[in-house]
C-alpha cells in the first residue's frame, strides 16, 4: 500500500504545532495550552486512518514514503510501518494527550516551552518508530534527547540538573557506538536502508561486535540491568509529564530497537549471545523487583518496577533461540515475541497511568515519600478506585493488560527452560508485593495527617485522563486479540528472518 504522506504528517504536525506553541510565548499561555492540546488531539486523530488502513495480513511495510534525502550518503527519507511499529505509534499518540492535559494548570513557569517540548518530542518519537532508513532512525533517536533533557532540566525536582545530565550522557554514550556500527554496515551494504542491512551477510565476528554495539545502545534505553541506574534518577526528578513519556514510550525504543535492529541484522550473534540478554532480563525481573520492594519514594518504586517489567520484553524477544533448540521449531517462540510487544504497550499504559496518579497526589501534598501519605482513599474515593485498578494491572491481574504480556512471555520461557519460567514467575509475587504494599500504605488505613485530610478528589480533567487510560488497560486485558492480530504477520516474518543464518558460506 502506498502511503499518502500520513506518516510524515504524524511526525511533522506535532513538531510544527510545537514550534508554533513556542512562538506564542508565555504571554499568551492560554492560547499556547489550547494549541498544544488541539495539536495532540489532531495527531491522535490522524492515527485513526492509520489504524483503519493498516493491513493485518502482510508483514511488508505499509504507508511507505521514500524521498531521496542525502544522496551522497545513500540515505533516503524513508518511512513505513509494520505490525511492530504501529502499536507503538498508536501508544505514542495516545499518551501525549494525557500528558498535555496533566500539565494544564500544574506548570506555572515557561508554559509555552513546556508544551512545545512535549509536542516536538512526540513528533521525534513517532519518527523513530516509522523510520525505515537507519540514518534517519539515528537522527530521530538522538534528536529526541534534546527536548527530554530540557523537560527534566527546567521543570524537574531539586536534583534535576544531575538527573538530566546523567540521562543525556548515559544514553548518548550508549548510542554513539551504535552509530559506528551503522556506518560500518553502510560501508558494507552500500546504502542506509534497513532492508539492505537485514539482508547483508556478515561473519560471526562482525555480527558479535555489531550486536554488542547495538545492545549497549538499546540496553541503556530499555533499560536493562546493569545499565539502568540513570532511570530512577531521571524519573524521580522529572516532572509528571516527563516521567510518563519516559516510562510509556522512551523505554519502548530500546525494545523496539532490539526487535528491529539486533535480531534481524545480527541473528547469529543473537543466537550465540542470547544467554547474555536472558541473564540480564532475569536479573532485572528478580533483583530489581526486590529493589523496588524497599523503595521509600513512590516514583522510584514505579521506576524500578518499570525496569523489572521491561525485563519481560527483552526476555520474550531473546527466548526464541532456546525454544528452537528445545522443541526444534520456532512455532512456540511466537508467544514470546507477541508477549514482548504486548508487554511494551501494556507497560506504556500502566506505568504512564501510575506516574499520573503519583502526579495527582504530588500536586496536592508536594511529596513523593510513601510515608507522607496514608488513607488517601478516604478523602479521594474516585482517585483511589482508579489507582487500585492500575496497581492491580501492574501486578499482572488477569483481565488487565498487564496479565497478557507477562503470561505470554512466561508461557514461552516454559518451552525453553523450566527455571527461566520459574524465575520470571517470581514477578507475580514480587510485583504484587511491591505494588500492593504501596497501595496499602498510601491509599488505605487511617488518614495519616492534615495534608492528606485536605486532599481534594479528582477534578474533571484528571478524572478524564485516568479513566481513559483505565479503559485502555481493561480493553487490552479483556480482548487482546486486535492487538495480537495486528502484529502477527510481522512477528512471523521476524521469526523467519531470525531463523536464517547470515554467515556467508565460504
Amino acid at each position: 500500500m502506498q502511503g499518502s504522506g500520513l506518516l510524515s504528517l504524524l511526525i511533522w504536525l506535532p513538531i510544527a504545532g510545537g514550534l508554533l506553541t513556542l512562538a506564542l510565548g508565555d504571554s499568551r499561555a492560554r492560547l499556547a495550552r489550547w494549541l498544544a492540546l488541539l495539536t495532540s488531539i489532531a495527531t491522535l486523530g490522524l492515527t485513526v486512518p492509520l489504524y483503519l488502513g493498516f493491513n493485518n495480513s502482510t508483514a511488508s511495510f505499509q504507508f511507505l514514503e521514500r524521498v531521496p534525502w542525502i544522496p551522497q550518503l545513500h540515505s533516503d527519507y524513508a518511512l513505513g510501518i509494520d505490525g511492530i511499529s504501529l502499536p507503538l505509534i498508536l501508544l505514542t499518540a495516545f499518551m501525549t494527550v494525557p500528558v498535555i492535559i496533566a500539565g494544564w494548570t500544574v506548570i506555572e513557569k515557561r508554559i509555552a516551552q513546556y508544551f512545545a517540548a512535549f509536542l516536538i518530542l512526540e513528533g521525534l518519537m513517532i519518527g523513530v518508530f516509522a523510520a525505515l532508513d537507519s540514518l534517519l532512525f539515528y537522527f530521530f533517536w538522538e534528536a529526541m534527547l534534546i527536548p527530554m533533557f530540557i523537560i527534566i532540566g527546567i521543570w524537574g525536582g531539586p536534583r534535576r540538573v544531575y538527573a538530566t545530565l546523567k540521562f543525556f550522557l548515559y544514553t548518548f554514550l550508549g548510542s554513539v557506538l551504535m552509530l559506528v556500527a551503522l556506518v560500518y554496515l553502510y560501508l558494507k551494504a552500500g546504502d542506509y536502508s534497513l532492508a539492505a542491512f537485514q539482508q547483508l551477510p556478515l561473519t560471526l565476528i562482525e555480527q558479535r561486535w555489531i550486536f554488542l554495539a547495538f545492545l549497549l545502545a538499546f540496553a541503556v534505553k530499555v533499560p536493562m540491568w546493569p545499565v539502568h541506574t540513570w532511570l530512577p534518577d531521571a524519573h524521580v526528578e522529572a516532572p509528571t509529564g516527563g516521567s510518563v513519556i519516559l516510562a510509556a514510550i522512551m523505554l519502548k525504543m530500546g525494545g523496539y530497537g532490539l526487535l528491529r535492529f539486533s535480531l534481524p541484522i545480527t541473528p547469529d550473534a543473537c543466537r550465540e549471545l542470547d544467554w547474555l540478554v536472558i541473564g540480564m532480563s532475569l536479573i532485572a525481573i528478580v533483583y530489581i523487583g526486590l529493589v523496588a520492594l524497599v523503595q521509600q519514594d513512590m516514583k522510584k518504586l514505579v521506576a524500578y518496577s518499570s525496569i523489572a517489567h521491561m525485563g519481560f520484553v527483552t526476555l520474550g524477544a531473546f527466548i526464541v533461540f532456546q525454544i528452537h533448540d528445545v522443541s526444534g521449531s520456532y512455532r512456540g517462540a511466537i508467544n514470546g515475541m507477541d508477549g514482548a510487544i504486548v508487554q511494551m504497550v501494556s507497560h506504556g499504559l500502566i506505568s504512564g497511568a501510575l506516574f499520573l496518579c503519583i502526579g495527582v497526589m504530588y500536586d496536592r501534598v508536594h511529596s513523593r515519600e510513601i510515608s507522607a501519605y496514608g488513607g488517601v482513599i478516604n478523602v479521594m474515593p474516585k482517585f483511589g478506585a482508579l489507582m487500585v485498578l492500575f496497581a492491580l494491572a501492574n501486578s499482572g491481574l488477569p483481565g488487565t493488560s498487564g496479565f497478557v504480556g507477562e503470561f505470554l512471555v512466561i508461557l514461552a520461557s516454559f518451552r525453553a527452560n523450566f527455571w527461566y519460567a520459574a524465575l520470571a514467575g517470581t514477578t507475580l509475587v514480587l510485583g504484587a508485593a511491591y505494588t500492593l504494599w504501596l497501595v496499602k500504605r498510601v491509599l488505605f488505613g487511617e488518614v495519616a495527617n492534615d495534608h492528606v485530610a485536605h486532599m481534594k478528589d479528582l477534578n474533571g480533567r484528571e478524572f478524564l485522563i485516568l479513566a481513559a487510560l483505565a479503559v485502555a488497560v481493561l480493553i487490552i486485558g479483556l480482548w487482546p486479540a486486535p492487538l495480537v492480530q495486528m502484529m502477527e504477520a510481522s512477528v512471523r516474518h521476524l521469526l523467519e528472518q531470525v531463523a536464517i543464518s547470515k554467515i556467508p558460506v565460504v
Binding site: R110, I150, L169, V183, L187
Partner: protein
C-alpha cells in the same frame, strides 16, 4: 621550465589578492586622513572592500581547471576559490559582529580593520600556495597580523601577555616549519609542490625529519596537541572580537595549509605523515575534551573545544585518502560556521564592564533573552555533534572516512571522546536554561548583529536537516 610570459590574462585568477592589497593601502590612508571622528567610515569601507574582493574572486577566480601561475608559485582551482569566498564571508561576519563590541570598549582603531584585511590576504595567499615559499609567505603574513590583533587592546595586561606567548611560540613553529621545508628542498631539489609531489619517494631519514618539522608547523597553526599551548591563553586573553577572528577564518587557512602541503605536495609519503597526524589527533581529542570540563571561562572552554575539534579535522587527514580530506573540509566549514555564532553570542552577551566570559555569566540567559539562548543552544548542540544540527554530519563523515580506511578503533575512540565533550556543551545549556537569572542584568539589543546571529544559528540547523547541497559542493572540490 619555460619562462612564462606575463600577460594580464594569465594573472587574472590572482586579481582578488591584488585588489585586496590595494584596498588595504587605501583603507589605511582613509583612516589616517579621516581621523578618529570617522571610524565608522573605515568599518564600512572594510566591509565594502570585502564585498568587492569576494565579487572579484567569484568573477575572475572561477577556473575551468586547475591553473598554475607565476612560475608555479600560485595555484588557482575550485577548492581555492571556494575557501577564499568562505574566508571572506567569515572575516566579514566576524567584523560585523564585533562593531558594537569594539566601540563599547573604545578599542576602535583603523588599524584593527587593516590588520583583519592583511590576515585575510595571508589566508588567501596560503590557500593558493603551490610552492613551499608561498606557503611560508602566507603563514607569516597571517600570523604576524594575528599577533598584532591579539595585542590590540593595549591597556589590557592579559592581552599583551597572550600576544607575547603567541608570538614566541609562533616564531618557534615558523622556525621549525622553515627548517622542515629546507630539509624537503635539500632532499628533493625543488620548492614547487607539483614537482615535490612527482618526486619518487625515497622515504629516507632526511625526508622523515623534514616532514616531521613541517607537521609541527601545521599542528601549530591548527592548535593541535602538543603544539596547542597558545590556544587557551590567546582565546582567553584576546578581546572577544579577536578571539572570534582567530578561531574562524585561520582554521580555513590551516585546512588549506595541510591540504596543499601534505595531501598534495607530500601525497606520496602519506604513510609517514598519517601516522604522525593520527597521534596528534588522538592527543588533541583527549586533551581538548577532558581539560575543557574543568574550565570556568567560556572563552577558555571554547579554546579547549577547538583543540578537540581540530583533533577531528586532523583525523580526516590521517586517513591519507580523498574521502578523508573531503570529510575534513566539511568538518572545518561546519566548525567555522558554528564557532562564528558561538563567539558572536559571547560578544552579544558581553556588557559594559563585564566580558561575559565566565560560564556562570550565562545563568538564566533563557529568561533574560530567550532568542539568544535558543541560538546558543543550537550552536552548542551542533558542536557536540547531536542531530538535527550540522555538527552531527561533520562528525559522521569523519567516522565514515575512518571506517572506510579500516580504522575502527580510532573511530570508536573519537565518538567516545565526543561523549565526554558533550558534557561541557550541555553545561552551557544547563546554565542558560536551568538556572535562575542573575538580578539586574540585561543584554544589549543590537538589531543587526542579532539578526545576523539568528541567521547564522538557523543555518546550522538548516544544514543539519538538509545537508546535501553542502556535501555535493565539497565532494566536487576534492577528487
Amino acid at each position: 621550465m619555460p619562462v612564462a610570459t606575463m600577460s594580464f590574462a594569465s594573472i587574472l585568477p590572482a586579481i582578488p589578492e591584488m585588489a585586496l592589497a590595494v584596498a588595504i593601502c587605501l583603507i589605511l590612508l582613509l583612516d589616517v586622513y579621516g581621523g578618529a571622528g570617522k571610524r565608522g567610515l573605515t568599518a564600512t569601507a572594510t566591509l565594502v572592500a570585502l564585498a568587492v574582493t569576494a565579487w572579484l574572486t567569484f568573477r575572475y577566480g572561477e577556473v575551468e581547471q586547475r591553473t598554475v601561475l607565476f612560475n608555479g608559485l600560485y595555484v588557482a582551482d575550485r577548492l581555492g576559490v571556494f575557501l577564499k569566498l568562505a574566508s571572506m564571508l567569515s572575516v566579514g561576519v566576524s567584523l560585523f559582529y564585533s562593531q558594537a563590541y569594539l566601540q563599547r570598549r573604545s578599542i576602535v582603531g583603523g588599524e584593527y580593520y587593516v590588520l583583519a584585511l592583511t590576515t585575510l590576504l595571508g589566508i588567501c595567499v596560503l590557500i593558493s600556495a603551490n610552492s613551499l615559499l608561498t606557503i611560508y609567505l602566507g603563514v607569516e603574513l597571517l600570523s604576524l597580523s594575528l599577533y598584532a590583533m591579539v595585542a590590540f587592546d593595549r591597556d589590557s595586561g592579559i592581552a599583551a601577555e597572550s600576544a607575547i606567548k603567541y608570538f614566541v611560540l609562533g616564531a618557534i613553529a615558523s622556525g621549525a616549519l622553515l627548517y622542515g621545508m629546507s630539509m624537503l628542498y635539500g632532499m628533493s631539489g625543488t620548492l614547487d609542490l607539483d614537482r615535490l609531489a612527482a618526486t619518487a619517494t625515497t622515504a629516507g631519514a632526511g625526508y622523515i625529519i623534514g616532514i616531521a618539522f613541517v607537521i609541527v608547523g601545521v599542528a601549530f597553526k591548527f592548535g593541535a596537541v602538543p603544539f596547542h599551548m597558545w590556544v587557551p591563553d590567546v582565546y582567553q586573553g584576546a578581546p572577544t572580537s579577536v578571539t572570534l577572528f582567530v578561531a574562524t577564518a585561520p582554521k580555513l587557512a590551516a585546512f588549506a595549509f595541510a591540504f596543499r602541503l601534505l595531501s598534495h605536495g607530500l601525497g606520496h609519503d602519506t604513510l609517514v605523515w598519517t601516522q604522525m597526524l593520527t597521534g596528534i589527533s588522538v592527543l588533541s581529542l583527549v586533551l581538548g575534551n577532558v581539560v575543557a570540563i574543568a574550565q570556568t571561562s567560556i572563552k577558555r572552554m571554547l579554546a579547549y573545544s577547538a583543540i578537540g575539534n581540530v583533533g577531528f579535522i586532523l583525523l580526516g587527514f590521517s586517513t591519507g585518502q580523498a574521502a578523508g580530506y573531503r570529510a575534513a573540509l566539511i568538518y572545518t566549514l561546519v566548525y567555522v560556521l558554528t564557532v562564528l555564532g558561538s563567539f558572536g553570542v559571547v560578544m552579544l552577551a558581553a556588557r559594559v564592564g563585564s566580558e561575559a566570559d565566565e560560564i556562570s555569566d550565562y545563568k538564566g540567559l533563557a529568561t533574560r533573552d530567550p532568542l539568544l539562548a535558543l541560538m546558543m543552544l543550537f550552536l552548542m548542540l551542533s558542536t557536540a555533534g547531536i542531530p538535527p544540527f550540522a555538527g552531527f554530519w561533520a562528525k559522521l563523515w569523519i567516522i565514515q572516512s575512518l571506517l572506510n580506511s579500516g580504522m575502527v578503533g580510532l573511530a570508536s575512540t573519537a565518538v567516545l571522546l565526543s561523549v565526554v565533550g558533550a558534557f561541557y556543551y550541555l553545561r552551557v545549556i544547563w546554565y542558560m536554561y536551568f538556572e535562575p537569572a542573575a538580578p539586574g542584568s540585561s543584554v544589549d539589543t543590537q538589531f543587526g548583529a542579532r539578526f545576523a546571529l539568528t541567521l547564522n544559528a538557523l543555518a546550522v540547523l538548516a544544514l543539519g536537516l538538509l545537508p546535501n547541497a553542502l556535501f555535493a559542493l565539497c565532494n566536487g572540490l576534492i577528487d
